[in-house]
């Protein structure tokens, strides 16, 4: 138990603070805000148009921000031999991956939720819409984190891992995007429920898929 706590703390510090060559939690966050800031420049200052499309932009930005740190989620530790050393100590890969999903979520999902009011202001969303966006991010980002860690484990060690990871993660994240952005439509209350369901499904599968990928990579 204490070993797991030690590992989780290291995961979290590495993902939040970053390390040379790893970048921290600031990068996805700045990316997210940059998209929210650029969008009004691109489509013009029509407040009605911005308010109607803004929430969708927030979701696209969140998805892309989740993909940014993919190449440093698993690869550096695999490369440095950490996973082998944990395996020698009998620590299950499933647990390690669950911890990493949690750390990844804390390092990108929570900052995005904190930045969402700012993005909502830039895009001219009203209070009710912001509330729905926040709720959607709370339900959806754990799923994004789960998909991210799974893809990172699958592509770790591959030569074009980073680019491939992005391409693989996007289709898997499409349901989260559809339900997340859809929950903002006037009749979209069911969207949040479906969002939560897809998020839970991703969370349930991810630790096992990612652990299997790590083990298969040893062969």
């Amino acid at each position: 138990m204490r070993a797991l706590w030690t590992i989780f703390r290291r995961d979290l510090v590495l993902l939040v603070q970053g390390a040379p060559g790893r970048g921290g939690a600031a990068l996805p966050l700045l990316f997210f805000l940059a998209v929210a800031m650029l969008y009004p420049f691109a489509v013009g200052p029509d407040a009605r148009l911005l308010a109607r499309t803004g929430a969708g932009v927030i979701w696209v930005a969140a998805l892309l921000a989740a993909i940014l740190p993919l190449d440093r989620l698993v690869e550096p530790d695999l490369e440095a031999g950490f996973f082998d050393q944990w395996a020698l100590r009998g620590i299950s890969e499933e647990l390690l991956m669950l911890l990493r999903i949690l750390a990844h979520w804390l390092s990108f999902g929570v900052p995005l939720m904190l930045a969402a009011p700012l993005a909502a202001g830039l895009l001219g969303l009203d209070g009710a819409q912001l509330w729905t966006v926040e709720l959607g991010l709370l339900l959806g980002t754990p799923g994004l984190a789960a998909i991210g860690v799974t893809i990172a484990a699958l592509t770790a060690g591959l030569r074009a891992g980073a680019a491939l990871g992005g391409l693989l993660a996007i289709p898997l994240a499409v349901p989260l995007l559809i339900f997340g952005a859809g929950s903002l439509q006037p009749s979209g209350e069911g969207g949040l429920l479906l969002l939560a369901a897809s998020s839970i499904a991703a969370l349930a599968i991810a630790p096992f898929a990612a652990a299997g990928a790590i083990r298969a990579g040893r062969e």
Binding site: R2, A3, T6, I7, R10, L14, A19, P20, E79, A80, G81, F82, D84, Q85, A87, L88, R89, R218, E219
Partner: protein
């Protein structure tokens, strides 16, 4: 230290569609040491990973009583962290006592791991292994990058570990000065 045992029976290893070796077998009891020899690419590191349980053998099996620890070319220490913190991470996970051998790292504990030389990094990896409290040491090229002084010191540490009842398996193409050292040459087991 608890008595320990490591036995390999009729091990074979396949990488890709190439059979690297077959029929490798040995048994080590507490205090035993074995050197795996053979030229580059013959499968020493693969055999080490099989003995560590990280790689499935193509045939045969490995039996072990006691904890195993592996030191290979990847030190599993955070490159950007000071050496002391990087080692403490594993010490907290292993919850073993203070290491008996510190491999002359006392003065380097404040230095980030990425600034260490090859030999210093090797000694750091060995210190991590020694501090783990595992009985069965699996050492893949432990003397690589070490100068004469530290090469002797590391072998002394292996002897001390054996005297306490531990087992050491060493993959190395350098001659080792260890008491009652058994040897397996993978050249004899080429497929």
């Amino acid at each position: 230290m608890q008595p320990c045992r490591l036995a390999a029976r009729d091990l074979a290893c396949r990488r890709g569609d190439r059979l690297l070796f077959k029929g490798v077998g040995f048994e080590l009891q507490s205090g035993g040491a074995l050197q795996l020899a053979g030229p580059n690419g013959i499968g020493k590191s693969s055999l080490m990973r099989i003995l560590a349980g990280l790689l499935r053998p193509y045939a045969g099996q490995v039996e072990h009583d006691g904890l195993r620890a592996l030191s290979d070319e990847r030190p599993a220490l955070d490159a950007h962290r000071p050496l002391g913190e990087a080692l403490d991470f594993w010490r907290r996970i292993d919850r073993a006592g203070e290491a008996r051998a510190d491999f002359g790292l006392q003065d380097l504990l404040d230095v980030p791991v990425r600034f260490l030389s090859t030999g210093q990094r090797k000694r750091a990896a060995l210190a991590r292994l020694a501090a783990s409290g595992a009985q069965i040491w699996l050492l893949d090229e432990p003397l690589n990058g070490l100068d004469k002084h530290w090469s002797t010191a590391v072998q002394a540490a292996i002897e001390a570990h054996r005297a306490q009842g531990g087992i050491a398996v060493i993959a190395s193409h350098q001659p080792l000065q260890l008491q009652a050292l058994r040897a397996v040459s993978l050249l004899d087991h080429m497929a």
